[in-house]
């Protein structure tokens, strides 16, 4: 019984009941058709026959005999009488023929044959009658009627009466038969109905009992589960739907145990982790505060640096101007020195002339001295003058040579100065360019320092935000810790062997129920703040809601 599915059981139950109903119906229909058949034969073979037999009898008596009598008495003329008789004869013939086509019982058949023979005999008498009527002989008619006609028709009437009686008796027999059938059918129908009800009831009871037993087993398990008792054991599961349900419940309990032990462990971990998180975030907060202080220091240093860089920029710009000025001056100096060199060269050229003159003077003086010496005593005075002239010439020559040397050295110095100045000019220009670059760099540095300063201020803000956030985080972590504690308390509602917390699990539900609303509200608010941290708690508490509903129902 256990291994048959509930659907099969219910199907069997309905099928058996329907089968009984069908059997009863079929049986009743069979009886009805039997009664219907007897009714049909009563009507067709008996009632109609009765009418036909009566018509035949009436025709013989009223139309044939009656008309003959009327004609004999002179109530109607011969022609009308003949017509009536022919009409009656036709009617008798047709009716009799119809009657002959109906169903006969054996005695009826025998009687029909006898009557038919009598009727054929009467036909000859009727033919004779018609011949007499044609002759319109009243006397012959009277004689024939009394002697022949009555003797022929009376037996027919007698036989017809017998036939009518027979029809009645057969109908009665049919009625009796129908009655018998009805009473038998009534009794057996009652019997079948009663037995069908009994069998259906029995089977339904059996089926209902088996289903109810299975459901009761399942409901015991479910009610234990609803009390959080995960230690419930499901051994005999069977092969029906409830069995499958129990098997699934068994699986569910195993999964529940896993999930709850996991959740319990997880909540332990969460408690520990949230405590760590609290301390870490406090540390972080302190760190962020220190960072903010450091950032402010850096910021002030940066401002000083910006001022220095600005100063450097100004100096560099001034230096650039000075260097450019120096470069121009150097160019001018170079030009001046070159001019000086040229002047020196012209001086040297001029000095050469003086040198030549001095040399020529010297030679002239020597010639004069020679002449004076050759003149002897007379030339002595002239010789002195010549010697003085020669000395002057020599001095001029020496001076000219000195000037020449000086001018030469001046020229070389001027040329060297010019070269040096020419060398200095590009150097100064290069310096000016470098200083310009320095100036530009300083400007960029200035900008960069400004940007750094902004960045530092942003950093400062961020750091302060971080400090605030980490404080919030510490608060959140504490909240999380308390949530995890609550979660643990909630989870302890479940009992199972692994944790051995039967004592805690047996805590009364009344102590749990008041907590429910509060905890759910908290979770909802907490969920908005920290979507990741509390989703687990939230999910579990929702499960709790479902179980709580079960509690209230039981």
């Amino acid at each position: 019984m256990k291994n048959i599915k509930i659907s099969t059981k219910l199907f069997v139950m309905v099928f058996l009941t329907s089968f009984g109903l069908v059997a009863i119906g079929l049986y009743g229909l069979g009886n009805l058709s039997t009664i219907n058949a007897s009714l049909e034969t009563v009507y067709k073979d008996r009632v109609i026959c009765l009418k036909q037999l009566r018509v035949v009898s009436v025709m013989y008596n009223a139309n044939v005999l009656g008309t003959t009598e009327k004609v004999r008495n002179g109530m109607i003329d011969f022609k009308t009488g003949k017509r009536n008789i022919l009409k009656a004869q036709e009617e008798i013939k047709n009716t009799w023929k119809a009657y002959g086509a109906t169903y006969f019982v054996p005695e009826e058949k025998k009687l029909f044959t006898q009557t038919d023979e009598l009727m054929r005999n009467s036909d000859e008498a009727i033919e004779s009658l018609l011949a007499i009527i044609d002759k319109e002989d009243k006397e012959a008619l009277g004689v024939f009627t009394i002697n022949e006609l009555y003797s022929k028709i009376d037996p027919i009437t007698k036989k017809l009466t017998e036939l009518i009686d027979m029809q009645l008796s057969i109908a009665e027999a049919e009625y009796n038969k129908g009655q018998t059938t009805y009473s038998t059918a009534k009794i057996s129908t009652y019997a079948i109905i009663l037995s069908g009800i009994a069998i259906s009831l029995l089977i339904s009871l059996l089926i209902i009992r088996s289903i109810k037993r299975a459901i009761t087993n399942a409901s015991v398990v479910v009610s234990k589960l609803s009390e959080g008792d995960l230690t419930v054991e499901i051994n005999d599961t069977g092969k029906d739907e409830i069995g499958y349900l129990l098997a699934d419940l068994k699986k569910m309990i195993v999964k529940f145990k896993n999930v709850i032990s996991y959740v319990s462990n997880a909540s332990d971990h969460i408690v520990a982790a949230s405590q760590e998180l609290t301390s870490s975030s406090q540390q972080m907060s302190e760190g962020a505060t220190e960072q903010a202080a450091a950032t402010e220091q850096v910021s002030s240093s940066m401002e000083e640096m910006v001022a220095n860089v600005q100063h450097n920029t100004d100096n560099a710009q001034q230096t650039e101007k000075i260097a450019l000025k120096a470069s121009e001056d150097a160019i001018e100096g170079s030009v001046a020195v070159n001019q000086a060199g040229i002047s020196m060269k012209s001086i040297a050229n001029k000095i050469t002339i003086i040198t030549d003159i001095a040399r020529q003077t010297n030679i002239l003086a020597l010639n004069a001295a020679v002449e004076a010496a050759r003149a002897g005593e007379q030339g002595r005075g002239f010789a002195v003058v010549a010697a003085e002239v020669r000395k002057l010439a020599e001095k001029s020559q020496m001076a000219a040579i000195e000037i020449n040397e000086l001018s030469q050295s001046s020229v070389s110095i001027a040329e060297r100065s010019g070269k040096l100045l020419d060398q200095i000019v590009p150097n100064i220009k290069h310096t000016a360019k470098l200083v310009e670059e320095i100036s530009a760099s300083s400007l960029e540095q200035n900008l960069g320092a400004g940007q750094i300063n902004n960045a530092l201020q942003q950093l400062n803000q961020v750091t302060q935000q971080n400090a605030a956030t980490s404080e919030e985080m510490a608060a959140s972590a504490e909240e999380l810790s308390s949530q995890a504690d609550q979660l643990k308390e909630i989870i302890s509602f479940f009992r199972f062997e692994e944790l051995g917390k039967h004592e805690i699990a047996s805590a009364p539900k009344s102590s749990y129920l008041p907590h429910k609303n509060g905890s759910v509200k908290k979770n909802k608010t907490a969920y908005k703040l920290k979507p990741n941290g509390v989703s687990l708690t939230n999910g579990v508490s929702l499960n709790m809601d479902g179980l709580d509903d079960d509690y209230e129902k039981f």
Binding site: Q360, I363, A373, A383, R390
Partner: protein, 158 residues
Amino acid sequence: MSMIPPTESYLTFNLDNELFGINVSKVLEILEVKPITKVPKSPSFMRGVINLRGNILPVIDTRNKFCMAQQAFTIDTCIIVLNINTGKDSLLVGALVDSVQKVIDIAAESIQHSQSMGAIYREDFIYGIGKVAEDFIMILDVDKVFSAEELSVLEADN
């Protein structure tokens, strides 16, 4: 005047950093060096001839004559026009010198006739060595500087 010791005037000049002197009685004049016309097939000591106021004056390369190294003319190079006594008559020649110094008087007693000088120069045309202050002046006897053949060549030029 008779109390004054006998002195002679000498024209001093430089040759190869040495100081020489010539008696002014032999000197006609001093010329600045000027373009010298070379004479073909002339002796090596004869540099060429110049035009001295219409007369041809043979110019002697004194450095060559005195076996000194050849040197290009400088601005101080001069030609001393000398009157040489050949024995029969006199002859004008120009002597190339590095530079002419001055005319000085040297007492006859301060001229030393040293034989040892002949080791460097031909003794026959060195008259003596005069000492003036710290300098030594080699005094030349210009009449003996040129041999008879040389003089004949020079005369032919004249």
